[in-house]
């Protein structure tokens, strides 16, 4: 850590000496130990050590950024000079800014890996899948531990030290029987200890169980308007697309966001409360400060259906004269509903339970169309067989207003905490 303290201070000083009136410097190092497995066998043990130097400089209102993976003194000094030169050649913009002075030390997760135990848990997971889900083929699995240390400084006197580590599990699987195969699906976990078998965490059991049920599918025919229930992991992708389309820097700065004038107005059903909560104790290694140097705080993006905040950086906020978001994280936490999933489904006449969405980016208006993967038909309140070649089409903003319900059950994978979400008014089509 002492080396990181020294190099971040050296970098910041060099940026200021090169003319920066606003500057940030972050020096860090990471260590990764990773096991890779395919088809029930661990085939690769990968160990990497890396360093990071991230610089930004504003000179006469012009900004440049530079990233390097060396902390050698001559590299730090020459990078600072290059960053300043890049800024000088940039374009003046008074919207650039930094957070005021603040100091904090952050210690998260588990810094030192237990590789023997990680290997044991990895083998245990492969054995469990082989015994309990014999039709599942693990196309790819990685289990890993990442440890990091960093020191961030800005020219207003902000200084944050961070140290931490966490384990991660990532699976890509599909179900097989003879020559038939299901769609691939994926599951991921982030954990700070190895106390429990991996199979008990997140959505692993559901994804594995569903993979076996999705081998034989029914080709959807025709077209109808119905209800769609998104699983929590699918919902996280849908919500990120929605936030990018309506609440992020780019679409607010260029004025294309449909929500640009909707702050503090109703944009969703009152049952929806969606927060960006990196400090939630259920989440692993949540963000602790932003790149401008603000200490991160949790905030509600949508509060009982009302748009409470955009996801704007300080630059975006200054550019649009709208309030800055209280963090720059993507840790999504949605309040659960009051109906068990099976009751939510029992009210649906015709629709889909969608486990994964595969589609092009939604257009500027939020219109989306894509393939409903790893999905089941819902008919007369029952989950029926898996479907193939089913497409769904709708509008992201309208979807939040056409809420049928949120489940009581939530899933936490270490990055998000989300329920199942059922919406009406989706065009569902097959051949």
């Amino acid at each position: 850590m002492k080396n990181l303290q020294e190099k971040s201070a050296l970098a910041l000083q060099a940026l200021i000496q090169n003319g920066a009136t606003m500057a940030t410097a972050k020096a860090g190092q990471t260590s990764l130990n990773e096991l890779n497995a395919a088809q029930g066998e661990i085939t690769l043990y990968r160990s990497t050590q890396d360093k990071q130097l991230s610089l930004s400089a504003v000179i006469k209102g012009k900004r440049g950024t530079l990233a390097l993976n060396s902390l050698e003194e001559d590299a730090v000094l020459s990078s600072a000079a290059d960053c300043a030169l890049s800024a000088l050649n940039s374009q003046e913009d008074e919207a650039w800014g930094l957070a005021p002075k603040a100091e904090a030390d952050f210690d998260q997760g588990c810094f030192t890996p237990d590789m023997d135990k990680l290997l044991m848990r990895t083998v245990e997971l492969m054995d469990t899948i082989r015994e309990e889900y014999p039709k599942v083929v693990v196309e790819e699995m990685t289990t890993s531990h990442t440890a990091f240390e960093s020191v961030y400084r800005n020219s207003n006197g902000a200084c944050f030290t961070s140290k931490g580590g966490a384990y991660a599990v990532s699976l890509m699987i599909s179900g097989h029987e003879g020559e038939k195969t299901s769609s691939f699906n994926a599951a991921a976990l982030s954990l700070t200890d190895l106390e429990r078998p991996f199979i008990e965490a997140g959505a692993l059991r559901r994804v594995l169980r569903d993979a076996e049920k999705q081998i034989h599918t029914r080709r959807l025919q025709g077209k109808f308007t119905g209800s769609v229930v998104f699983t929590p992991d699918c919902l996280s992708d849908i919500l990120r697309e929605l936030i990018s389309n309506y609440a992020s820097d780019g679409v607010l700065i260029d004025g294309t966001s449909r929500w640009k004038d909707a702050l503090h107005t109703r944009v969703a059903d009152p049952r929806i409360t969606l927060s960006v909560s990196p400090l939630d104790s259920r989440l692993t290694l949540g963000e602790r400060y932003t790149s401008e140097g603000f200490v991160s705080e949790d905030y509600r993006l949508i509060d009982h259906g009302v748009l409470n905040s955009f996801m704007l950086s300080l630059y975006g906020a200054n550019k649009t004269s709208k309030p800055r978001a209280l963090n720059s994280a993507s840790s999504l936490v949605m309040e659960a509903g009051d109906q068990p999933l099976k009751d939510l489904i029992s009210g649906i006449e015709r629709g889909l339970l969608v486990g994964r969405y595969s589609g092009g980016a939604a257009n500027a208006n939020g219109e989306f169309s894509g393939v409903a993967k790893n999905s089941f038909l819902i008919e007369n309140g029952q989950v029926k067989e898996a479907v193939s070649e089913a497409m769904i089409q709708g509008n992201l903003a309208l979807m939040l207003q056409n809420l049928r319900g949120l489940s009581l059950e939530t899933e936490c994978d270490g990055s998000n905490v989300l329920p199942y979400m059922a919406v009406d008014g989706i065009t569902i089509s097959g051949q």
């Binding site: 890779n36 395919a38 088809q39 066998e41 085939t43 690769l44 043990y45 990968r46 160990s47 990497t48 050590q49 890396d50 360093k51 900004r63 440049g64 950024t65 530079l66 990233a67 993976n69 060396s70 290059d82 030169l85 890049s86 800024a87 050649n89 940039s90 374009q91 913009d93 919207a95 083929v137 693990v138 196309e139 790819e140 990685t142 890509m172 599909s174 097989h176 020559e179 195969t181 769609s183 780019g250 700065i253 260029d254 004025g255 294309t256 630059y315 550019k319 595969s358 092009g360 257009n363 500027a364 219109e367 169309s369 393939v371 993967k373 193939s388 070649e389 089409q393 089509s429 051949q431």
Partner: protein, 461 residues
């Protein structure tokens, strides 16, 4: 020079084990102008040394963020330790891999690393041009992106090589509105391999293409919704390349085949119309250099073309050394890593459907009721052989003539069924090589093809 850092390191290779040592440097430069605001002005350099050792069926990999002979030695040592850790816990050991041809390739020519000012000035000049010529736009964005991968590779039993793959791209996004106030967008990528100055001279030189792009945006102001369902479509070469990559290419990467992709049951069977042939090209195709040439991969395999579909029959997979042994296929140079600290994975290189004999205008004229699909923003494959890609530009075909533009949509199908519906293949060839292919690591890839007539599932109202 990267090779200086690996000098003498071969003596550290573990006897009896396969070893690879790689020094690598990735550069990126990026400038983004959004509605005239310079919102991103970035430079990065990521470099280091890595080693991979194969011992009794297990791989160990290690990397350090340093370029030095000492770091190379530490990487080999740690990689060997990791391999032994795994093989010590392994239930079954495997023998050594089949031998490779050995050799040394001459170093590739360097490129000019353009100062950041050049990117900024060009982007501003282009943005000013767009703002001046098309004042009615809702919004505009100009993104300049340059990246390069330089590698120096030493192997215990394959080729040694220096490789350098720079590429420069410029993306233009134009946003407008329909008469009903619905936002519409169109974008295009310009560029290819080489340095920025090799690809771009002045913003004005792009005027003609900008004019065409703007015309397409105006067409989208009157866009209509597609009718969802199975339709006859003409795909441009750009989309045929996307099809080759997403619909077929991923399913015949041997790691996905090993993981259960549908292609595992289709070798030497008909998977497409006899008009369809497809190859993953290494460094040359149709008498010219491929968009992103590969001469030696990161396992030290000398790169050769890999035919995948020949006259409708699936004839090969893309393999690495381990899966080449498993499937009894010769590796052709498909194992590549993105950063210095990444391990080589099976990746496509320049994947293309081969041109045929038909003429595009006649193909369009042959469609009574269908769609002409021209550009895409992303795509995805599946183990089932289902594919998807997003369509961002297309037109109706009505009684053999192009009609109104189409709203953005998604198309999908089952690759080996859809390819059997191909009944016309044009005599032209279009390549694209912008963006990245996603897998565990990103990777620049090329893809291409002729125009195709086929049946596709389209999303719509």
């Amino acid at each position: 020079m990267l090779q200086d850092y690996l000098y003498g390191a071969q003596k550290l290779f573990v006897p009896g084990a396969h070893s690879e040592l790689r020094a690598q440097c990735n550069l990126t430069r990026r400038v983004t102008l959004l509605q005239g605001n310079l919102v991103a002005n970035q430079r990065s350099q990521i470099q280091g040394v890595s080693a991979r050792v194969y011992d009794k069926g297990s791989y160990g990999f290690a990397s350090l963020a340093e370029l030095s002979a000492e770091a190379a030695g530490k990487a080999i040592q740690k990689a060997g330790d990791n391999a032994r850790f795994l093989s010590g816990h392994s239930r079954a050991h495997k023998p050594a891999l089949p031998p490779l041809a050995k050799g040394i390739l001459p170093p590739q020519k360097d490129f000019l690393d353009v100062p950041q000012k050049r990117y900024i000035d060009f982007a501003k000049g282009l943005d000013d041009l767009i703002a001046r010529k098309y004042p009615g736009l809702q919004s505009r964005a100009v993104v300049i992106s340059f990246d390069s991968m330089e590698k120096e590779l030493l192997t215990s039993d394959g080729y040694a090589a220096h490789s350098l793959q720079p590429r420069a791209y410029l993306y233009v996004f134009l946003n407008g509105e329909t008469q009903d106030g619905m936002p519409i967008e169109i974008f295009k990528a310009f560029g290819g391999s080489g340095s920025f100055d090799r690809r771009f001279t002045s913003p004005e030189a792009l005027s003609e293409e900008l004019e065409m792009l703007y015309k397409r945006l105006l067409d989208k102001q009157q866009a209509v919704e597609l009718k969802a369902g199975l339709k006859t479509c003409i795909l441009t070469g750009e989309l045929a390349g996307m099809l080759a990559h997403e619909a077929v290419g991923h399913t015949v990467e041997a790691d996905l085949v090993f993981g259960g992709s549908v292609a595992g049951h289709c070798l030497n069977k008909a998977v497409a119309s006899p008009l369809v042939s497809m190859t993953d090209f290494a460094s040359r195709a149709f008498g010219a250099e491929t968009p992103l040439p590969v001469y030696v991969d990161d396992e030290g395999v000398l790169a050769q073309d890999q035919p995948l579909i020949e006259n409708g029959i699936l004839t090969g997979y893309m393999v690495n050394r381990v899966l080449g042994r498993h499937y009894g296929m010769e590796p052709k140079g498909n194992a590549r890593a993105f950063l210095f600290n990444d391990e080589p994975l099976i990746r496509m290189r320049n994947t293309a459907i081969l041109p045929g004999k038909d003429h595009l205008q006649e193909m369009i004229a042959s469609v009574e009721d269908g769609y002409y699909l021209m550009a895409s923003n992303n795509g995805q494959a599946d183990t089932t052989g289902e594919f998807m890609f997003g369509i961002t530009l297309g037109y109706e075909i009505v009684k053999g003539k192009l009609g109104r533009a189409l709203h953005d949509t998604t198309i999908s199908g089952v690759a080996f069924e859809m390819l059997k519906t191909v009944d016309r293949v044009s005599d032209t060839m279009d390549w694209v090589s912008s963006g990245f292919c996603g897998k565990k690591q990103p990777m620049p890839v090329g893809m291409g093809g002729p125009a195709l007539r086929c049946q596709l599932m389209v999303g719509g109202k």
